[in-house]
């Protein structure tokens, strides 16, 4: 059974990647929303927040948060694709075939990882046009990629849960909204020091802030120190919890 896990996963991943390529609307919405937020903050609010509050160009400060929003908005489509597979009966067809069972879920997870890689790359390219510059060396870029990949994996496994449980397509996608909103209550757009007490306390202790700070430090080529480990701990913690919960739901749904 496990002998075919890799090839089965590859075939099924190819299938759902084809879905993405053939529904350009999902590509556009996942990339356009974060790009629109980025443009708005750079050109509309950037002047007011910018130089007075943060060091260097505001787009440098902004980009890590925008990247997290990109991932958070894209994973709702993972939930949606999984939901559609369950609805259409093709999920059941796969499960009734002699294929490696984990492949059915892993294909969706890998698809999410690849799709996010592309949209994150697009957002970074646009940010370069807006004046984003990084002093990061190759290893620091690898660090950024690693944190983003972990973050994507964590949120994707989180998305698997509503994908398996939802009763309607709207329900499958809706869980992502709070995730998209979370960066606004963090250090992603303004330093937490500018926030009132309770909000500041929340912002400083939620995962987005530590992840954003870690990526920001890596981009700036500065020693990220403990932030990176806090960020990793959050990602791994969410990943493991979501993975376990998703597999539990999967077991209950499939047998």
């Amino acid at each position: 059974m496990s002998a075919h896990l890799l090839s089965d996963t590859a075939h099924l991943t190819g299938r759902s990647l084809r879905h993405i390529v053939r529904s350009p609307d999902t590509i556009i919405t996942t990339a356009v929303m974060p790009l629109a937020i980025m443009l708005m903050f750079v050109f509309v609010f950037g002047g007011a927040i910018g130089e007075s509050r943060v060091e260097g160009p505001y787009v440098n400060y902004l980009l890590p948060g925008i990247l997290l929003i990109t991932v958070a908005s894209a994973i709702s489509y993972t939930a949606l694709r999984l939901f559609n597979d369950l609805q259409s009966g093709i999920f059941e067809r796969f499960l009734s075939m002699p294929i490696a069972r984990p492949a059915v879920l892993w294909a969706h997870v890998l698809t999410s990882l690849i799709a996010n890689l592309v949209s994150v790359a697009v957002v970074i390219l646009v940010s370069l046009l807006l004046g984003f510059r990084s002093g990061a060396n190759v290893w620091e870029w690898f660090g950024v990629a690693g944190i983003l990949a972990l973050f994507t994996l964590a949120l994707t496994w989180l998305a698997v849960i509503p994908g398996l449980l939802a009763k309607s397509p709207d329900g499958a996608g809706a869980f992502a909204y709070p995730l998209i909103f979370l960066p606004f209550l963090s250090s992603a757009f303004v330093p937490t020091a500018t926030m009132p007490g309770p909000l500041r306390a929340f912002a400083e202790h939620q995962p987005v802030t530590s992840i954003v700070d870690a990526i920001r430090a890596l981009f700036a080529g500065q020693p990220a120190g403990s932030e990176i480990w806090v960020a990793m701990a959050w990602c791994v913690g969410i990943l493991l919890t979501a993975l376990l919960a998703a597999l539990l739901v999967y077991r209950r749904r499939t047998r």
Binding site: S7, R18, I99
Partner: protein
Amino acid sequence: MTSASEVSIRVRGIAKSYGDVSVLRDVEFDVMRGTIFALLGSNGAGKTTLVRILASLLRPDAGQASVQGFDVGTDAARVRESISLTGQFAAVDEMLTGRENLTLIARLRHEKSPGDVAAGLLQRFSLESAADRRVSTYSGGMRRRLDLAMSLIGDPPVVFLDEPTTGLDPQARLEVWQAVRELASNGATVLLTTQYLEEAEQLADRIAILHDGRIIASGGLDELKQLLPPARAEYVDRQPSLEEIFLAVTATTPGTHDSAGPRS
């Protein structure tokens, strides 16, 4: 009478309930190799639940079932190698083309040349002209044919068809019937569920009537007929059924349409 080697599907005392609702109660039957077995029942009789149990997708609360000698509970992987399941709704991938759907399943079944398998089935199910169109553009009958074609990849010895013709127009239903007959003539064991009496009558070697989660009658068509009071001779004008009229009218080509009209 039933030697073990000839039995393809063996069902013994299967029970399943959801909460307080008992869906299947003590269901028992055998299906012999190479035969077509129809499970006849109205909506909610438990047909789909039973098929899902036999396809190893659902655990029964009690009882045992085996397919080709493999227990559906303890030997699920071997069961899956022996079966194909065609669900109530065509389980096809709308975003892919017909050919891609077939190729994907052929790859997942580890066929040596997936492309050739796909091409052969497209021809066999008259889908060649639509092969490279997305399935979302297919008609209901074409989807069903593709669905069936996908089920046949890897030549599984046992085929489960859950309400294969529900929602199809009469022409498409005849096409599906033809495909089912071919399957059985090639040696496959077919278990189909249906709510259409005529379908069971047309296709099945043996029929079991599932009602309220129980098999209340089973046997060949002749045996089932004996359950009724003896036939009385009655004089009835044989009127063509609307279905026969529909098929006759739609089968004529446009050119001959006029001459096929009322012959007065």
